[in-house]
Symmetry: C2
Subunit: 250 residues, 2 copies
Amino acid sequence: MENSDIIYGKNSVMEALIAGNREINKILISKNIHSDNKINKIKELAQERGIVFQFVAKEKFQPYAEFNHQGIIAQISPIKYYDLDEFLESREHTNSSLVILDGVEDSHNLGAIIRTCVCAGVDGIIIPSRRNVQVNSVVEKTSAGAINHIPIIKVNSLVNAVQTLKDSNWWIIATDASANDNYYDVKYDDMNFAIIMGAEHAGVSKSLLKASDFVVKIPMQNSFNSLNVSNALSAIIFETLRQKLVKTRK
Amino acid sequence: MENSDIIYGKNSVMEALIAGNREINKILISKNIHSDNKINKIKELAQERGIVFQFVAKEKFQPYAEFNHQGIIAQISPIKYYDLDEFLESREHTNSSLVILDGVEDSHNLGAIIRTCVCAGVDGIIIPSRRNVQVNSVVEKTSAGAINHIPIIKVNSLVNAVQTLKDSNWWIIATDASANDNYYDVKYDDMNFAIIMGAEHAGVSKSLLKASDFVVKIPMQNSFNSLNVSNALSAIIFETLRQKLVKTRK
């Protein structure tokens, strides 16, 4: 398979099989690992879908030694990135949500963000084609397979993307440590919204802050105030979900 | 310095100097790194406190190659663990909060949890002396120095610790995927409470679930429902903070 990616680890391989939206060429399992529920599930799904799996000597995994592969890798077609127009036209959006990443550089952070977004029901993640980490093997692994459950939208310009969203009646919320409003002061339960999270060090860029409808902060309780970007997003995104669920219950 | 730890990375070293509650024997800086604001701040603080810093050839860092040391390490006294009685007697507790970790095994997760707890103003973190990752160099680095800003309380038995807390009028909230109540259904703004987070795979142990006053879940929006433990904690702990801050404002 030309232009194929390697994914590794039990969860990554299992979730790719469950999602079933990518072509899997081959699964390699080390002869030295013990079968467990996940490995059995992987074999079962692979058989159903007619995908080759081979038991190989552990030496075959030498090239992947730097990864925590758990004795299993798969050769898979790269994820399909969406473009924004395609995403917007794909369905009616009512009280939908997007997360926009502006310069997130760490693969582990991107993986954790994808995982959180899927659990919280976010509808898509927008990343710029430059100056941001792309989806790689580490991202796939850290996302624990969540990558297969959410559209990743790649755009050339975040500023243009934000303008497109505003033209389509989406509200834009940027996060910034010096904001006046707290993230929970915004009412998220009756609009389509996109939340912009900034780079680990530099934060959200000025042009995007300027283009946003709201700028919010997380109120820090300590002079040590450096929250990891995936944990910051988790606090905000689950607050938006809380508001929606509490409203539905009423 | 006997029985000393190594910490590495600019933030870890800088935060240890700022906190000033641990004995630093020596700081080693690679001759090959460029000075920046953080390095300058480190030099300034070290000079003020009379701590030796040496510029060394990058070969000196060879033993630490597996770590993302950024060309700076420090030899430091181990963190001081608290015991629970000491923590409880150290001050009056009113609307205080604790996080209890039951079997968290991943160093990166513990580091991220410490960082989130400090930002959200949590008063302490309880870990068991066995079957849980302890504070090591990776935890220190991932916490970005936050470890110096919060008491880590080590106990032999979590069940006994929970009983001690209940006897001292603390409320215990455990998290479990099969709970009926959502985490935001609990009113956190008028009590001392401890939140129990479970192991990455096994969750909170049965004996602790049984001993808890509330068992809550995070409502998952997808069949893929595996949230990273530090991100799960972030959602819950910032909700407790939101409730407190909203109440104060009224």
